[in-house]
Subunit: 276 residues, 6 copies
């Protein structure tokens, strides 16, 4: 998960800038201690390694330990992790580390809620590209920790032909055929369709995956029947905890949920320092 | 707002990586068109310049226009902004631009809700350092657009002595005095207190601003009386839309609300392309 | 092709460093002129945009023009491209620009030789990851310009399970199944096999693509028969212009050729300056 | 040789990008093992430190060992180097490390062939600026490992007045005199000449080094006689293994060979993994 | 003080570039030794950690030791610090390390001279933003080591309304009021005034700090009386060692001295190597 | 002079950081005006292009004009340069631009003083590597503007064998011979000597340039006689305006003066804004 380094640097720079004037003024640079981060909520923890990296960037001498691993359920009041070392370093990195782990745990917790609703089903909950800019990799990681599956990482590792592409290139068939010629042979082609006409065209063009966009459960059921296992099927648009079960029962393979990343709330934690 | 450049580069890199294989395969590089971004919600818009910059980073030839300016209320169904230029460029930047403006507008909209509740009061709603790592500057900007006020930007431009600092350095008085000697003369000193004893000590040490942490309205009222305008007063911790009014009536100067940035949901928008 | 920017900067920095002391000393900074780059060989040109970018990085005022486009056959003695502007800028960028276009044209020319040998076949010549470090994107671009096809760009956009992976994880079946669970649903799985036993296992595990590594034409023919269109087939290892035709006749879909990028020679060009 | 760091980062980024999806999916992160890199050719090895650095960048815990040092002759079948550590790290860095060392060894091997032809002569084989962009430092290093000598590193550390400079500034004499005034007193001035008239002018202007460009052995012999040790003499242009000996016998000091870097082929190696 | 890293990298790059050709040619890479840096002047030392960092950047194996700490007075002839390790590393970093510590010690020494003149006074000597571009943080650190105090670090952490701002916005009162509304509540507002009229306006607008610009001692005394402790008072402009005492006697709180950083001379040191 | 870009970015970042809170609060972003920079001293101006670049980095719309060019003598009270554009941009870049041009003009002015003392001599005043870290290129430029000459730019473009090198490698002769074998043929070899024995050894080893370190005029005269034009001669160490003439009369070619860069004071300028 070392691709988060650049974001951690940006985050420490924006918070510390030319220096933590409070800590530098009043906390002796030699003072050592322990900081315990306490859960103020029940949640699925995600981002322990990111938090560890934040402290490590600031001061490699700070020791980080936790009885949890990403994906564990943490109860309100438990110590999520502890850091031991120079108090000045701990205080400077505290807020940035917490801001990371609180948000990532929020995403994992929300994902787990969705996943648990479909416990007895083979349908996969997948994420989208509606992630926080700069956070793509770690937010998709948090979704996996929560029990979800990832969709493509970005525009570079999967072909998804959407309405705007079709409009721009003149039809589903030509879009699929052109893509097949240009892209390398390890990438599948997914096509977004909104009705049965587009679906028929996508299937006959040989799409590997069909995305059914904003359809009703009845329309979806009809589409699944028509596809008849010749392509994988993904449902997208307007998914929430209320309609999730009904969508899953239609026989699709994947349900993608933008809210996992664009509308998760941070979970609550706070740090308590003990001097040595 | 050019400090957001580094984040925009990171965001485009993580989404596009080695190339948008769908668009590169099927959309002619010469094709031009217009993309209209439609509101799917009512919201306060924030981040128009950030969205413009995203397109500009990818292709400076794309023209961006909007009838709105940051802070305007946008109704569901309205065109938030339009871009005109190479369709390939528009399609590559679309998701990143929307991810930015949807989140920033979410923050501005939530902030406006808080601010509107205190319409007839002089109390200021202020943000915290509980921002999304990498987004400090633009999230605080969105808070201002929503009608809120900023607290310090980071650890470098304001002294806030919290419980952990006091524990680390041995008392409020020594903390304030040491800070006064070390920091330059244009920075005020704020002290976080949790009870009347700490408050008394902070006041006698000459704190410029007092933060009352997690107190009840009655305790706050008592504290305000004791402070008696010798310092500015900020309330923090556990603030929500329900208790906001009661907190504001206690006579404090500032109420800080972490939720503005750590728990805002993105507002909904989507882009529609027209070929030329 | 803007991902080459970082490499261009590195290249200009390593050549110019603290300054072109010859040009700075003896060529007046106001002097303008034209530089014509002459072909000293017959070749397929590739990298005109890269060359243009090199001049553009150094001095955006330099005008670049060419009667050719990438993929054209250029005869010995023809002007490949011309630049017009400050002579000092032209002289400083000359070597770097030529080093790029000479190598990229070398790759395109070699690829074209391979492709022309299979003119009447549907077999695709594909490249490998044996590219010059730092040059992945532009070398794969040059292969396409030469008429070849790209394999995956890197480790991030395609699954290729090789002997070392299988050794590390305990068998073909477990490797394919685990990959299927972990990777997103737009990526295919390719498995490298060296004999019929491995092939059988890979097919039964549901591999999407089979790579036949270092097999004889007879073995390949047998494997193709066994695969029977249930997976795509790639041949790899020891391919050269002599055995190319025999390999293509076996019925495979792709032949991958490392030599396209790791053993292409630069084509020859040189610049001639005219003062104004 | 730490200037290669930037190139190594670029190379790992372009190959691994958002992650090695094959290895991450199927190789346990805790699994350790050994990778042996086997020579598939006879060659002069160069770039062991670069290869070591590639593994080190990816995972500093990987141990690298070799019984060879740069410049040694390695026989087909020998283990060039071994790495020991996490298999996942070894597999991710393998291709990049090999791409570096195979190319650098190719350059050293080709250089050694040239150098061995002149074993009984004092003439030095020198490289040129016709190097792979981004690779200047390490390719020139490989030339030295092969027994060649370096010409200037770039435009910044030596004055070489070529035909285009002379055309731009109005004559050899003025070029040399102006350079002498502008450059610092530790840099020599080399002038490229194509005939006896230019040679006479360069000598009378006091050039420290003369480059004879594309002359026949007879012309070169005549020029050497005229120069009569008042300047060092370099031969350049159209040098190959066939005419090398004849050029060396003319009495020149240096023969520069662009092919050493622009047309060397990679030597062949491959890695074999053993699990623990 | 780790913000100096970028400057150290820039400095090593500009001095070493593609390599220290003298040391690389004639000093064996295995040779170890000690370098003693000898004071050639009496001075206050500042920048020992910066010098240590320079060696550390180049070669983390070099050991750095000193019997002094920043702020100590060093006598001519004493060993300021010693380094032990590879001689090649020591020789390459020597000049850069000395260039840093000689300049920083020059600033500390000059500051100490100013501070010593006001030994019996409570007036603080403060620095300005007239620092060497790139050196802001370390020059302000050297001023503190010399016994001075820092003014704001930059434009981001303090409001100082100067004549040009007032001209641009239409008056002192509106400037102060607007600033009060825009800036966060931990930042004070300082106003530069040049006469009694401006002073009156600044005071009535509620400025927290007044800067008296280029006033005579008599004018300053009159201003101090008028301010009457309702704001802090800073004197600026034309301060030197001759008029320092007279300015301090006027009753102001701070005297700012640009010369501390823009006109300090380097102190003299040189390194002596001993082989092992 | 574009190599100064990195330093300019560093300088703007350290001064502006997260924003110029004064200007952003009280100066309307649309307000335009002119800033005139007035000389408060007589000096030789240097760094007009650097100052222009500072404004250009911040806001490319700011127009920069000057009636002077680098090297001109500017009288107290004259307008050095003017900028026209957004006042906010002008105010944010002002201090950084002035800090650059004031220091560079200080160096040019001091150099001119040295150069003018030797007006009737052929001896060249040259600089040293005792420059401000990060400023090597522009400080050496300022020396040239003042009429001085440059020594080598850094460790990479000239061989200077000093006492520490000789100690490390075992003697002058072996040092010169080894260097001659390792370095490319366009670089001269300079040797630092402190007495006649070392001088004899350096001459017999074939040094191209001799540096006489810390010798008296009589010793220098004796050395020059001995060298007898077989090498160039540089004097170094303890040079000042008082002994400059005596040193120049000894017949040496170069006198190097560290004080030009390590002890120059900034000249005085200030900006005056006019609103439109």
């Amino acid at each position: 998960m070392h691709s988060v380094d650049e974001l951690i640097k940006l985050a420490l720079k924006e918070d510390i800038g030319s220096g933590d004037i409070t800590t530098d003024a009043i906390v002796s640079p030699d003072l050592e201690g322990i900081g315990d981060v306490i859960a103020k909520d029940d949640f699925i923890v995600a981002g322990l390694d990111v938090a560890r990296n934040v402290f490590d960037h600031l001061d490699p001498q700070v020791l980080f330990s936790s009885t949890f691993k990403d994906g564990d359920r943490v109860k309100n009041g438990r110590i999520v992790f502890s850091v031991r070392g120079k108090l000045a370093s701990i205080l400077k990195a505290e807020r940035t580390a917490l801001n990371f782990i609180q948000r990532l745990s929020g995403i994992a917790t929300l994902t787990r809620t969705y996943v648990d609703r479909l416990k007895d089903s083979n349908v996969r909950i997948v994420d989208t590209r509606k992630t926080t800019p700069g956070w793509r990799g770690i937010e998709k990681y948090a979704v996996k920790i929560g029990g979800g599956y990832n969709h493509r990482m970005g525009l570079y590792d999967g072909v998804l032909i959407k309405d705007n592409h079709i409009a721009a290139c003149g039809g589903v068939r030509i879009a699929v055929n052109t893509a097949r010629k240009q892209i390398h042979h390890l990438v599948k082609i997914e096509v977004e369709v909104t009705d049965m006409v587009e679906l028929a065209e996508a299937l006959s063009a040989g799409a590997d995956v069909i995305m059914l966009d904003n359809m009703t459960p009845d329309q979806i059921r009809q589409a699944v029947k028509k596809i008849n296992s010749t392509a994988l099927v993904e449902v997208s648009g307007g998914v929430n905890l209320d309609n999730l079960h009904r969508l899953a029962e239609t026989g699709v393979d994947f349900i993608s949920v933008g809210a996992l990343t664009h509308s998760a709330k941070s979970v609550d934690m706070s740090m308590k320092i003990q001097n040595h």
